[in-house]
């Protein structure tokens, strides 16, 4: 190949690799792409992931029941009358979650699962109006997954102790 052709080829290879390596992108409501950096990884309990370490050996049991041998520390308070674990966790591949249409997704994209029922929230989260974002108002922002603030098994936001009230303005005066 001639040098210029070679250079053009290298350029395009580099470009394609770069495009492939761009971190997770999220589309805003108007279709505009915003380059974002995912903040922390999904908030797994210690040593619980990858799930297949245990579950690849086990016989999957699709029967709805109260778990006794393991994961009995999880209290499900998320429409538990109508749903249970395997409505979100995939039966065959425990390292993945599944959508209503059966499509498998990573834990890093769990928002797609939440968004099936919580559509308006997902839309607002994508637009940056729901949930915390840090970084640059005119540049790169860090976002958080739904699971970082809302425990998917018991999503209601826990109350917390407030920081101290302001001092009495007359404190220390005579």
């Amino acid at each position: 190949m001639v040098t210029t052709q070679k250079n053009i080829f290298i350029f395009f290879m580099v470009l394609i690799s770069a495009l492939l390596l761009i971190p997770d992108t999220i589309y805003g409501d108007n279709g505009k792409k915003e380059a974002l950096i995912q903040a922390p990884p999904p908030p797994f309990s210690e040593d619980i992931f990858p799930c297949t370490e245990c579950h690849s050996e086990m016989e999957p049991n699709p029967e709805r029941r109260v778990l006794e041998d393991m994961h009995d520390d999880i209290i499900l308070k998320h429409d538990e009358k109508n749903r249970w674990c395997l409505d979100c966790h995939d039966l065959k591949n425990r390292d993945k979650l599944h959508l209503a249409n059966g499509k498998l997704i990573d834990f890093t994209e769990s928002y797609k699962l939440c968004g099936q029922c919580h559509g308006p929230k997902l839309r607002e989260w994508k637009n940056g109006v729901h949930g915390k974002r840090t970084g640059y108002w005119n540049g790169k922002k860090k976002y958080l997954l739904c699971a970082h603030c809302h425990n998917p098994h018991s999503p209601k936001f826990k109350k917390m102790k407030p920081d101290p009230a302001p001092d009495d303005p007359m404190k220390g005066r005579k």
Binding site: P169, M170, R173, K174
Partner: protein, 412 residues
């Protein structure tokens, strides 16, 4: 030049006059000096540690100092307003009335400016308000207007009264053409200083208690019934102790005009009460705090009621001819209206404006010891100044101190 020498003699004689006096005079002056020193040490604490030595806070950011300032601007304005009836009714000692009115105005303006300086967070930065050298936000800021009109008013009165006394001293007729006009000009100036001070408050939309169109007329009306009260008492004293020949009828006329002013003041006050009570909006809470107390805090109630009751009683005393012409009830009325307006322009104006605050939180305020000491210092300085200037005026006008007496002394 000759006039320089005579003017220096005028100053020298004035200093001699104020250094000489009877035992009452010395007692009075020494007490004032003691109070000034005591107050001054308190003010020094404030300069050192900042305004934290007061009881003001972010919510109640103005207090005793600004209350006194507002009241004194009223006194300064009203002292001159007496000149109007003096001219209309052709009162005999009109020049003397004018002079004492102006002396009171000068002292009151100095005290008012003293309170402004005492209230500043950075008094060493006051030069920022001087145009060209600093940056004066004229015409947007009412405080800029106030600094200009108060300075002009002070200059005007000080120049006029010094000139009149000096002319008296050198036994020459004063330049009627210029100075009569200046004296008349001081009347709209007097109205302007108090109107500008009122606008300072009522232009602030954030404080619904002040944001009333009636505030400026109410200020003028209450000033006119409180300022002359001081002169009323002073003239009676002068009539008894010097050759000051003011007719009883003139004194009664002053009192009668004050009565009409009191009526206007009470009417405006009642109008404000009606509007707030009948409309019954959230803004009523400030008046409620003042007159009835709110959330258990009733610290202002007694002062509010005292003010209005004193004012009504004074109004009646001045209105009814029998009590107006009786020397005891006349003076009781003068004192009552003075106290009534002092409360109305002081504590009853400032505190309810700030409490409940912009975010609806209720706060209490009571002047701290340092605030009281600083205020005592400023009032004492003003009284001292007024005493000195009045003594000089009395010597020159009534005891006939003049340049000829000096010349005859030096020749003998």
């Amino acid at each position: 030049m000759r006039w320089k020498v005579t003017f220096i003699n005028f100053i020298k004689e004035s200093i001699r006059v104020i250094l000489k006096g009877n035992k009452w005079y010395y007692t009075w002056i020494s007490s004032l000096l003691v109070l000034i020193v005591w107050g001054g040490l308190g003010y020094f604490e404030q300069l050192k540690n900042g305004l934290i030595v007061t009881n003001m806070s972010d919510s109640i950011s103005w207090g005793f100092y600004i209350g006194n300032f507002t009241f004194l601007v009223g006194v300064a304005a009203a002292a001159i307003l007496l000149v109007i009836p003096a001219y209309i009714y052709h009162w005999k000692p009109i020049k003397e009335i004018t002079i004492f009115g102006e002396l009171l105005a000068v002292s009151a303006v100095i005290m008012a400016l003293g309170f402004v300086i005492a209230d500043m967070g950075g008094p060493d930065r006051l030069w920022h308000m001087i145009p060209v050298v600093g940056l004066l936000n004229f015409p947007d800021s009412l405080l800029a207007w106030d600094s200009i009109v108060l300075s002009l008013y002070f200059l005007l009165n000080f120049v006029v009264v010094t000139y009149l006394l000096y002319m008296h001293f050198i036994k020459k007729e004063y330049n009627k053409k210029i100075f009569d006009k200046l004296i008349l000009f001081s009347i709209p100036m007097a109205i302007s200083i108090h109107t500008v001070t009122a606008f300072l408050f009522n232009g602030i939309a954030a404080r619904s208690y002040w944001n009333s169109a009636l505030l400026a007329p109410k200020f003028i009306a209450s000033a006119f019934c409180s300022g002359p009260a001081v002169l009323l008492i002073l003239f009676q004293i002068l009539k008894k102790t010097t050759k000051f020949d003011i007719k009883k009828e003139a004194i009664w006329k002053i009192a009668e005009l004050m009565a009409y002013s009191m009526f206007l003041y009470l009417f405006l006050f009642f109008s404000e009460i009606f509007k707030e009570v009948y409309s019954g909006t959230h803004h009523l809470v400030h008046l409620k705090y003042l007159f009835l107390g709110v959330k258990g805090h009733t610290d202002l109630v007694i002062y509010a009621w005292a003010s209005i009751i004193f004012s009504i009683v004074a109004f009646l005393l001045f209105l009814i001819p029998k009590t107006r012409m009786n020397v005891v009830t006349l003076n009781i009325g003068a004192v009552l209206i003075y106290i009534g307006v002092y409360i109305e322009k002081g504590i009853a104006l400032i505190i309810p404006g700030f409490s409940p605050d912009s975010l609806g939180q209720l706060h209490i305020y009571k002047p701290s010891m340092i605030e009281i000491r600083t205020s005592v210092m400023i009032f004492s300085l003003g009284f001292l100044l007024f005493t000195f200037m009045s003594k000089i005026a009395v010597e020159i006008i009534f005891e006939d101190l003049n340049i000829n007496k000096l010349r005859s002394k030096s020749h003998s």
